[in-house]
Symmetry: C2
Subunit: 143 residues, 2 copies
DNA sequence: ACTGCAAAGTTAGCCTTGCTAATTGGCGTA
DNA sequence: TACGCCAATTAGCAAGGCTAACTTTGCAGT
């Protein structure tokens, strides 16, 4: 395969990523949650109760940074923490019932820019193709 | 098409984007240029001399922010500015010959994390599929 | 020619996000 | 029981991009 081609696509990937990121940031204030908050919510919904440190590892982020995100989510009633049954150092965080319901119902979808852009801007075929590319990128990240 | 499916893919898109972004940031110091700087360099290489305001528009960014990026690139000798021949308000920025050569030779590819990840982590088919998805995302951004 | 407004760019100050360093308190093993 | 490890928190910092306000230049209407 052509190295030139890889450079071209990487250029475009970088440009699109930065553009989407800035757009998410710009639309942020009107959205219910920030990107990082949504990542945490999705993680808790998919994998159940987690500690701050575990969430930080999943997101390739420092525990201190994740701690700040969790603190914000707690203050607005999205997550609650309970002490680990046997290990007093740990706190296990879960979505509140209300937030879990909202997530499962996809209720925040309408208030989040990326969700509505994806659902109204991409065809069914484009959606599946994007999903395959994302899977490839994820594997790329793991190396 | 399923709205649920769109939500799933958007979730994954957001997660992958934030992961790549953090990774680029983390690898940044060892890279030659930041993501924003590379975006500007690619733009100048593809579309020729531009003003700060034009570059800012292309990148969906404020002129003040782009001004700072250009100032940095000028200080390290990557771009040079010259007055617009007829409009005294504008300054036209171009890549220095050395930088243009480097860009065309893809010489910075080896020193940039994203380039090397893409070229070694994706197959030729995955590369083309990704390129199609990026085109779809770009159209999505323009709405 | 003169007045007045638009457009390019700059300076100053702020906010957000994630980082490192250092501390506290619980855990577990020699 | 003492010592080192691990979860979490607090404090301070840097990068990136934002708004607000100002200067200079160009242009259009009278």
């Amino acid at each position: 395969m052509s190295r030139e081609r890889a450079i071209e696509v990487a250029d475009e990937l970088r440009a699109v990523i930065t553009a989407i990121r800035r757009r998410m940031q710009a639309e942020g204030p009107t959205d219910a949650y920030t990107a990082s908050q949504l990542n945490v919510i999705a993680n808790l919904a998919k994998h159940g109760p987690s500690t701050v440190t575990l969430l930080a590892n999943v997101e390739s982020m420092r525990p201190q940074s994740m701690g700040a995100i969790i603190a914000t989510l707690e203050s607005i009633g999205v997550v609650t923490g309970s002490p680990h049954p046997t290990d007093g150092r740990q706190t296990l965080w879960t979505l509140t019932p209300k937030s879990a319901d909202e997530y499962n119902a996809g209720r925040d979808a309408r208030s989040n820019w990326l969700y509505s852009a994806v659902s109204t801007g991409l065809s069914s075929e484009q959606l599946e193709e994007l999903d395959r590319s994302l899977a490839a990128l994820r594997r790329m990240l793991e190396k």
